[in-house]
């Protein structure tokens, strides 16, 4: 999954345009900034209470300057620190142009499951419910399948739902899907994978975009 994480993050970075306000969840999303073109100006915010995060520092990491995952970050000119109530105020109020979250499962209707595997993994809901509710655009990042090969893009999620009908785009190491009007659409096939790979590893109904492309 090491390489897959990089691939997914790199592709996700291309969703981010000049001047955007962007929130990144924990997990794969937190490494997205490392793949951004240095020429664009983006305000990354994190729900612990920072707007305007820069690259992860390679030296002199400061314990009191971290992203929402608890890892060191930096601040750019124009950035600000605030409390986490203010952070979530921005999120609920619709100030976030794009929110990029890790996911456990996504349904073909855009339902997001990313907070609990009952009896097993218990990450907790974090800020995902608010982010899914408030962001103008919600992108889910995840490995295409479980370690044992079971698909994570499904007709209906089997895990408890975080928020219904919220995911607008899914990026995995195999493919990029969009979800519009509750319909799942395959838009891109990632390098090294084929349409067959995607069909075999996706447990959901999906259409194939007329403009489908292989990701460069």
């Amino acid at each position: 999954m090491g390489d897959a994480r990089q691939t997914i993050a790199q592709r996700a970075a291309r969703e981010i345009k000049d001047g955007m306000i962007v929130n990144l969840g924990i997990g794969i999303p937190s490494i997205v900034p490392d793949f951004l073109d240095a020429s664009i100006i983006v305000f990354f915010m994190a729900e612990n209470g920072i707007l305007g995060m820069g690259p992860s520092p390679t030296v002199n990491a400061d314990g009191n300057l971290s992203n929402a995952a608890g890892y060191p970050t930096s601040i750019l000119p124009g950035g600000s620190y605030f409390d986490s109530a203010t952070a979530f105020g921005m999120i609920r109020r619709g100030c976030i142009d794009v929110s990029i979250l890790g996911a456990l499962q996504v349904s073909e209707h855009g339902d997001l499951a990313n907070w609990i595997v009952p009896g097993k993994r218990v990450p907790g809901v974090g800020g995902a419910m608010e982010l899914a509710f408030g962001a103008k655009n919600l992108i889910a990042l995840m490995s295409h399948c479980e370690k044992d090969g079971r698909p994570k893009i499904m007709k209906e999620c089997t895990l408890p739902i975080t928020t219904y009908h919220c995911v607008k785009k899914i990026i995995t190491e195999m493919a990029v899907f969009t979800i519009d009007e509750n319909a799942l659409m395959l838009n891109e096939i990632m390098p090294g994978y084929s349409m067959t790979d995607i069909k075999n590893n996706t447990d959901a109904n999906f259409q194939v975009s007329a403009h489908i492309k292989a990701t460069a």
Binding site: I26, A46, E47, N48, G49, I50, A61, D62, G63, N64, L65, S66, N67, A68, A69, G70, Y71, P72, T73, I75, Y81, F82, D83, S84, A85, A87, F88, G89, I91, R92, W115, I116, G119, R121, V122, P123, G124, V125, G126, G127, A128, M129, E130, F133, P160, I161, T162, T163, Y164
Partner: protein, 241 residues
């Protein structure tokens, strides 16, 4: 220098903690959780503690150190993913965990801190987290009612406190601390620096001193951060009891 008798020591703090107390702790993934007060809490031997805060920390970091000792009976938090022991205790029925959406949780603490009687929101409606929350109909729409949170004791980490208890914070160590500071009967602040009144710019004060009862000097963080612990095995192991 100590006009309001707020500046004190860990000995005083030790006597404030009690069995069965509701303890509100500042911090987000351990960042901004007061390290000296966590150790002080551990040393007292208090038990049956009801914890409320953003998350369960890491096994070695923040409130996680205390949770691993199995002396908390419940935890209200937004996530516990960074502390596998907390998940384990939950699954074994030893820790009653109530998950709250992160921003809703800090607003509930704020509501307690500013004397409001709760608020309405659509966030979480229809999910498993809503099972015990009243649904309130206003006009044609239904909302979840979120109750205010008030604690017995709050522990807070500040960059600077003046002797009146005015607080400023350091970067993202601010996080939930300002509202944790407002929401308990007794608020204890661990401050990296304690300064005379008049030393802080009145414009930059985040928490006015009226909310603060005790101020204790900090020696800074005494744990390794997660990025300083490359050994994944070690990271997830709870500290020795």
């Amino acid at each position: 220098m100590n006009l309001f008798n707020k500046v004190t020591d860990y000995e005083t703090a030790r006597n404030i903690f009690f069995d069965g107390m509701t303890l509100l702790f500042g911090g987000f993934g351990g960042v901004g959780t007061p390290p000296g007060l966590i150790d002080c809490l551990i040393e007292t031997g208090v038990k049956d503690v009801k914890l409320i805060g953003n998350d369960a920390g890491f096994p070695w970091i923040g409130i996680g150190k205390f949770i691993c000792l199995e002396r908390a009976t419940s935890l209200v938090a937004s996530h516990i993913g960074s502390n596998p022991t907390a998940g384990d205790l939950m699954n074994r029925g030893k820790l009653d965990v109530e998950f709250s959406p992160q921003g809703i949780l800090v607003e509930r603490i704020r509501a307690g801190g500013v004397g409001l009687d709760g608020f309405l929101t659509e966030i979480g409606k229809g999910t498993k987290l809503a099972y015990n929350k009243p649904l309130i109909k206003i006009g044609e729409k239904e909302y979840l009612y979120e109750a205010p949170i008030l604690g017995d004791v709050s522990i807070v980490y500040a960059k600077k406190a003046d002797t009146f208890g005015n607080l400023i914070f350091d970067k993202t160590a601010r996080n939930t601390n300002p509202f944790i500071a407002m929401a308990s009967k007794v608020t204890i602040v661990e401050a990296e620096e304690i300064v005379p009144m008049g030393s802080l710019n009145p414009e930059e004060i985040i928490v006015p001193g009226v909310y603060v009862k005790y101020i204790i000097p900090s020696k800074g963080y005494n744990w390794k951060w997660i990025w300083e612990m490359p050994d994944k095995q070690l990271r997830n192991e709870p500290p020795a009891k």
